[in-house]
């Protein structure tokens, strides 16, 4: 299945692109996706420790893994600094 991964702020700068499309095996979760990202972009590993993930505009609670589905939009969310 195919998902879109969006990067913002520091994670965007380190990934070198605002987004990418990834093909994932069936049963993939946000947790397995993060493992994939760490192998694809070794430089991201450090940044990811301070990021959370959102799937289709909803945060995934820290420490939880959400199952992914075809067409999901997964965002890498660094610490917020809006306001």
């Amino acid at each position: 299945m195919r998902v879109r991964v969006l990067y913002f702020a520091r994670s965007r700068e380190v990934a070198g692109a605002p987004e990418e499309a990834l093909d994932l095996p069936p049963g993939a979760t946000t947790s397995s996706l993060l493992d994939d990202l760490r192998s694809r972009h070794p430089g991201l590993a450090g940044v990811l420790t301070s990021c959370v993930v959102a799937v289709n505009h909803e945060y995934v609670a820290a420490g939880e893994a959400a199952e992914l589905r075809e067409g999901d939009e997964v965002a890498i969310i660094p610490p917020l600094s809006g306001g």
Binding site: L6, F8, A9, R10, R12, A54, H57, Y59, A75, I77, P78, P79, L80, S81, G82, G83
Partner: protein, 152 residues
């Protein structure tokens, strides 16, 4: 459907308005949006960019947002304001892109029949916005730049 970056819903006497925009934020515009002949109070909060951070001069700063999710979270914020306090109308706008010193990065406005509701809802909303809405600020100094992090 509203244009991208902007959403307005609800009956005309009880609505919320959210916006994420590269344009300058005029606080008066949002006060006008929440004006209501049945309301006796309008509370507002405007976040402006400061010229210094920890003694260092800020040359410029830029905001970046995950726009569709930011709009969804801002809508949630408005609905919670209306659920928790007897507010009449609420408007929340956040600017993205470069923001000059003294210009507004965020505006939150609420009207209510009695003052406490609008005052408390606006105070809560800016805290909640900083904690939940996917927006980021980068500050540029003479010796580099940094992505800020809101405190918990």
């Amino acid at each position: 459907r509203a244009p991208p970056g902007r959403a307005l819903e609800g009956p005309s006497d009880a609505y919320w308005f959210v916006e994420v925009t590269p344009d300058a934020l005029e606080a008066a515009r949002y006060s006008d949006l929440v004006a209501d002949p049945g309301a006796g109070a309008i509370a507002s909060f405007v976040g402006t960019t400061r010229d210094t951070f920890q003694g260092k001069r800020v040359l410029r700063l830029e905001y970046e947002a995950y726009v569709p999710m930011a709009l969804a979270k801002l809508k949630e914020l408005c609905l919670q304001m209306r659920r928790r306090w007897a507010v009449s109308r609420v408007a929340v706008a956040h600017r993205i892109g470069p923001v000059e010193v003294c210009e507004a990065s965020v505006v939150i406005v609420a009207s209510s029949a009695h003052r406490r509701a609008a005052l408390e809802a606006v105070h809560w909303a800016i805290d909640e916005l900083k904690a939940t809405v996917p927006i980021w600020k980068k500050e540029f100094f003479t010796d580099g730049s940094v992505w800020k992090e809101n405190e918990e």
